[in-house]
Structure formats: structure tokens, C-alpha cells
């Protein structure tokens, strides 16, 4: 049996996690985008690893040491694979309006920067959600995720994957907007189905 002091500590911790989780919106989609990028990158580099491993085995067949050149190739491959392993992060910044958001690529991270003031309005004082703020954040997130999955090919440094090179900034905006509409509609549709199933269960 847990002591009541410990129960309170655990309850507080759980409460803090719930509060922190309110800061993240559309988190499943964010995580899925991240997995998608990792999948593309690892597929590419698995193939490169196979090729290099084969090459090393052939060149060292007669008991030769791995040449400096091959070692360099190996080091380069490891660095590239690591650099491509981008993750998505969310941050909140002061913006001039709640209609502003940015995705910044810094080292291995895609950071989605959202308006701080919007995030602060997500929960009402009584603990309920402010639906309009939630929906605004979700829209910004969906748009920025669009940029991440559609317009970052060249940043992953993979040859032959340069789908967004040559696309104008205006086109990119239109594409991200289209992506956001599509993914949010699909999400709404799925939620409708899900909720109606739950409802059916109860009746």
C-alpha cells in the first residue's frame, strides 16, 4: 500500500505530464512525419552500407588492411547517415500575430516554432480546452508538417530524392496549405468514424 505522501507526489507528476501534453497538438501526426523521414533516410543508407561492406570485403580478401580511402568513405557514410536522422521538435516563440509560425532546420532538428500567446490560451482557467486556440494551433502544425514532409528532401542530403528543388516559394506555400487541408480533413473523418464506433458500443 502506497503512503499518502507518495500517492500525492505521483498524482502531481501525472498532473504535470497531462499539463505538458496540452502543449502538444497533432502529436501523432508529428511523430508519424518523423518516422517517415527516418524511414526514407535509413532505407537509403542501408543500401549504401551494403555496397560499402561488399567493397571492403572484396578489397581485403587477400588479407589486406582496409585502405585509407575506404576508411574515409566509411567515415563519410556514418556522418551522412547521422546527419540525415532528423527529428521534429516543437517550440513556442513571441510572434507579432497568431498567424505566424516557422519551421527551422538546425543541425539534425526540424523545429516547429508556434506563437507562445496561442499556446497560453489553449486551456481555459477552468481546465477545459479553448477550441478555437486548439484548432488554430493544429492548423499551423499541419501546414508546417507539410513543409517538413514535402520540402526538406535536399536537406536530408540524399541524391535522387530532390522532389522540392526548383519549386518556388509561392508553390511551396500552396503545397503546404493543400497538405494541411487534406490531412486535417482526413483526421476529422477518421475521428467521426472512431467516435461513432464508440457510441455504437455503448448503445
Amino acid at each position: 500500500m502506497l503512503e499518502s505522501k507518495r500517492r500525492n507526489e505521483i498524482r502531481n507528476k501525472a498532473g504535470n505530464i497531462i499539463k505538458a501534453s496540452d502543449r502538444y497538438h497533432f502529436i501523432h501526426a508529428t511523430y508519424a512525419c518523423q518516422l517517415m523521414i527516418k524511414e526514407i533516410v535509413s532505407q537509403h543508407y542501408k543500401e549504401e552500407c551494403r555496397k560499402l561492406s561488399q567493397k571492403i570485403r572484396e578489397k581485403t580478401k587477400n588479407g589486406n588492411e582496409i585502405s585509407e580511402e575506404l576508411m574515409e568513405e566509411y567515415n563519410h557514410l556514418m556522418i551522412m547517415a547521422k546527419e540525415g536522422r532528423a527529428h521534429i521538435d516543437i517550440d513556442y516563440i513571441e510572434t507579432s500575430s497568431e498567424e505566424e509560425a516557422r519551421v527551422i532546420k538546425i543541425n539534425n532538428a526540424f523545429v516547429i516554432n508556434l506563437p507562445k500567446s496561442l499556446a497560453q490560451r489553449v486551456t481555459n482557467e477552468d481546465g477545459t480546452f479553448n477550441k478555437s486556440a486548439v484548432s488554430k494551433i493544429r492548423n499551423l502544425m499541419a501546414h508546417e508538417l507539410g513543409h517538413i514532409v514535402l520540402h526538406t528532401d535536399e536537406l536530408l542530403k540524399i541524391e535522387g530524392l530532390q522532389g522540392s528543388i526548383g519549386i518556388t516559394e509561392t508553390d511551396k506555400e500552396e503545397e503546404a496549405g493543400f497538405f494541411a487541408n487534406e490531412i486535417l480533413q482526413m483526421r476529422d473523418e477518421r475521428n467521426r468514424v472512431l467516435h461513432s464506433e464508440v457510441f455504437d458500443d455503448k448503445t
Binding site: 516563440i93 513571441e94 510572434t95 519551421v103 532546420k105 516554432n113 536537406l155 511551396k172
Partner: protein, 72 residues
Amino acid sequence: MERKKIQTLIELAITFEEADQIIEEYTGYKTDSEKIAYIRGMFDCRIIGRVGNDLHTDYVALLTSIINQKWR
């Protein structure tokens, strides 16, 4: 040497305001576009997606991402 010092001080900053103050103090740059050019030359960072086109938000997002990368 001076450049390395500024870079270190920016990286150690905790808040955007602190980092921005360091940039102003050591470089004399006052406008957002000057500051953006400066930090983009110093760090491997870039804007790859946006909603809205406020230049100051560009700067805040870039600099905040730079100073927060140490926690990622």
C-alpha cells in the same frame, strides 16, 4: 577569436532577449535583416517553412532555435 567568443556567448544564452542583446552589443547590428544574415553565417540553420511573413518572427524563430538546440 572575437567571432568564436560571440558564437560561444550566443550558444550559452538562455533567452532570446539575452542572445539578441549579445549580438547588438558585439556586432552593432540593429536591424532584423542584418542580424539574420549574421547568425545564418555563423550557425547551420535555415527557415524551411512558414506561415506569415513578418521578418522579426524569422529572426526570433532562428535565434530561439539556435539557443535551444543545447536542450535537444
